[in-house]
Amino acid sequence: MAASPKLTVSVWRGMESGRFQAFEVPRLESQTVLDVVTYIQRHLDPTLAYRFACRVGMCGSCAMTVNGQARWTCRTHVDKVAAHDRLEVAPLHNLPVVRDLVTDMSPFFDKWARAHGRFRGTRTREDDFARVPPDAPQRLLADAAIECIGCGVCYSSCDIVAWNPDYLGPAALNRAWTLVNDVRDGGNRERLAAIAGDAGCHACHTLMSCTERCPKQLSPTASIAGLKRAAMVAALKGGI
């Protein structure tokens, strides 16, 4: 393939207010967007702020907005996204910008806590292991949602978060759904009460941007739909 040797990259500089700065980066084979950003920081402008850790799609720290869409940059090949050898890299939407490409993820993770995203065990160390058959229906439901790496792509893509800053967001609700389906967990009454509020699962309008953009191909929309049903059943039974 006769790729043009240079890539024109517009990178967001500044905080909430700022501007795009253009860089010329050598175009390489199998180059990822994270490679491009790293090249800029190492060779063109050492003051560029961005965040990454594992580089292999496990840690969820390198998500950015690439050509208008939230993506994990370490696993996004330039080939796939750079039409006409142009890239635009910006920080994630719906989160406060610390500087350049770095956002403050605190609101995102605070909402995991508000959605009771922590496992609440019911057994003691004296008890035997809980035995959960791999093909149990609840185990399968939890499995379908468990691989979230907390990158914030869904949260950044969600319009409901933009409309209602209190909305818990797809990732926190997805996490709550995995715990609702964890037969060992004892905190579901409080969890369902926490996620059934005005800023919880019922606020979702099923726009499905989270499902469309999730780099792990999870479907937070499916998890939220499950929570809506679970909350409804709990309310009918007088549980919440």
């Binding site: 907005t65 050509n67 208008g68 939407h93 950044s156 309008h205 726009l207 929309t221 739909a225 809506k228």
Partner: protein
């Protein structure tokens, strides 16, 4: 930072826009609908005049758009209910296509009945 069109350009978002816009337009049409029905209360002649007026080709065309809006809103609503209440499968996009198909079919049937 706020997201723009590029972040929203996917089929499910378009389905949301169609559902929302058709709902708003249908709500705006409702007063006209009730007004037309209300004509019957004032006697047969008034309603008859209105119904004859509504036989004009342009009005019929507008009615076809109305049928399309209704079908789109209905099919979109059924799609949402299926997504939210039935066990989840990987056929959300097929549902979208089905909703669009039902909408077009309803519009075409109405048009065929006209000519």
């Amino acid at each position: 930072m706020k997201s723009g069109f590029r972040a929203r350009n996917h089929p499910a978002y378009w389905a949301f826009i169609v559902h929302r816009a058709s709902g708003v337009l249908l709500a705006l049409f409702l007063p006209l609908h009730f007004w037309a029905l209300g004509r019957a209360l004032q006697g047969e002649a008034g309603l008859e005049t209105f119904l004859r007026w509504s036989d004009q080709p342009l009005v019929k065309l507008a009615e076809t758009v109305l049928v399309l809006l209704l079908a789109a809103h209905l099919a979109g609503g059924v799609r949402l209910l299926m997504l939210e209440f039935l066990a989840w499968r990987d056929w959300q996009k097929s549902l979208l296509a089905a909703a669009a198909g039902v909408t077009l079919a309803a519009g075409l049937i109405f048009l065929l009945n006209l000519v």
